[in-house]
Symmetry: C2
Subunit: 327 residues, 2 copies
Amino acid sequence: MAVTIRDVARRAHVSVATVSRALTSPELVRPETRTRVLAAATELGYQPNRAARGLITGKTGNIGIVVPDLDNPFFTGVLKAVQARAMQADYAVFVADSDEDPVAEAKLVHAMAKQVDGVVLCAPGLEDSQVYEVAGATSLVLLNRRLPGVPAALMDSAGGMHAVIDHLVALGHHRVAYLNGPRTSWSNQERRRGLMKAVAKHGVDLVDLGPFAPRYEGGLQAADLAVAADTTAIVAYNDIMALGVLARLRDRGISVPGDVSVTGFDDLTYASLCSPALTTVAMPVAQAGRTAVNLLLDWLDSDHTDVPQIVAETQLIVRGTTTPPKR
Amino acid sequence: MAVTIRDVARRAHVSVATVSRALTSPELVRPETRTRVLAAATELGYQPNRAARGLITGKTGNIGIVVPDLDNPFFTGVLKAVQARAMQADYAVFVADSDEDPVAEAKLVHAMAKQVDGVVLCAPGLEDSQVYEVAGATSLVLLNRRLPGVPAALMDSAGGMHAVIDHLVALGHHRVAYLNGPRTSWSNQERRRGLMKAVAKHGVDLVDLGPFAPRYEGGLQAADLAVAADTTAIVAYNDIMALGVLARLRDRGISVPGDVSVTGFDDLTYASLCSPALTTVAMPVAQAGRTAVNLLLDWLDSDHTDVPQIVAETQLIVRGTTTPPKR
DNA sequence: AGAAAAACCGTAAACGTTTTCGTGCGCGAG
DNA sequence: CTCGCGCACGAAAACGTTTACGGTTTTTCT
């Protein structure tokens, strides 16, 4: 049914080997025969069977990506970039969703391992040791998680959070609440790290609350604790929580940014659409996605002597939810 | 390096053929040897090479999905469900993003064709004829697009829009504006079809505006035209446009829902998070995603006599942006 | 011009499976 | 007792490629 390399060979009056060479390593055949082969191939609409090719080369031409949640715009932003860059490099992309379940994460990359040349693992919830374990099954690059010995595409969350505090103290805030996301999450640890550094530097009072579920509901819950702590600014772990905070504050008649300033993190689309628009920090998701596949591709033909870990810069986006404190 | 079927055969003291049989068609081997083979397989951690298997069976165990935009929560919702259902059926999922470009859509499914058993094509912008053309390249299931002869998972947008109008006239509105999305989009045509039917039924004045870009900016632009048309209700093509409308109206000091009611479509997360919360219609994306892969799987071993087209019900979600008109 | 080297291309093996075909065996029927 | 049949399994072909190897032609150097 399908057109095979043999058909092309017949039509071009050469052997199958020559066809293969003409297509994969053009410098090995005479230009004249190469064009003849190419002509035959396009005329027949020939497309190499990747399975057969993979069988012999050991390479599949596929990469995998496993994300914690496909409903999370943060990860789909990464996915979009990964897909685009991979396609550019003539790779196809397998996608899997772990549903925030660490053991599913491990299972998924193991399942993918035989079908791909490598996988990018996004913000895994796995223990370090388990990450190393799955890294044994295939070429792995991490996204938003740093681990010695494995390549990673990172975003400077710590720096972003530092910028948030810089911004707040510049406005005159001296007492701020931080609403933690999940304690075990690498992202939360990073953000908290940047926060602590900035807090120490400026000598501001920090009220450390949580952890909370990194969801709208978590924000609702956290808001009350934050106002009880009597701070002038509330720094949320991410945008969704911040939206919850805003909603709860509005319900309680507390004005933002009049009575209290609020910041988010991630710069999801709705951060700019709500009102007042949310001050937040933009994550370079697309850039990180691109570099993740670049790292993966480089890693595939490298001697693995150095393991690159590239961090992309975040950017503070000042909008309407932050102003100087009243008192 | 990797453990092959030959290793299993050696360890179980049988031939490779028997191993294959024991794993894929257990009834062909004696129970005793079967357990012996299974034991050997698990001890060695054997995983069949899907490429090799696919080479001979012609089936890949993969399905593909191509979507217009991975940044659009609507499609990632579908994707999430597709991925989950496929994984359940032991299929892996290729994903591709056409960036709203019809010719890219066609290219992508052609590229996928050789690597998958079938693909679900989401809301294609292709001409009918071109859809048929790509349907020739592989087994195709459409999502949110109806075309005679090709299986489809649909959502009852028309019904949803009808419900919107029913709701508005029940509130007492007699003159409403509809903000069109892209004219060529099947979704817009469906929504408009439901709209027209309801409008005719109730005898309401319809002001048909647009088309507009189905984005926030499109909403900003459309809002002014809608107020100029002096209607008491504005029905937007989708949620994002509705958000743009809300923002523009607020900027102009027009109160929602006091001065004018507004509705969206899709029920994206931020529809419930903005304030006032948006009245909209929820699309059964997850359900449609699931049925899409069900249809695909069924289609693969069917005689293709009947082509199923399953439509899932939408649901009107009444929230804060719709009230009776002032006058 | 002749030989050595290089360039080009064909033959065949290999990749890891599934599946067809054939073999040996036990067993029931005639 | 023999014939035939069905069952369990092994040998080998096949799937569509890539690539090592070797052979033939062309180029290059003296």
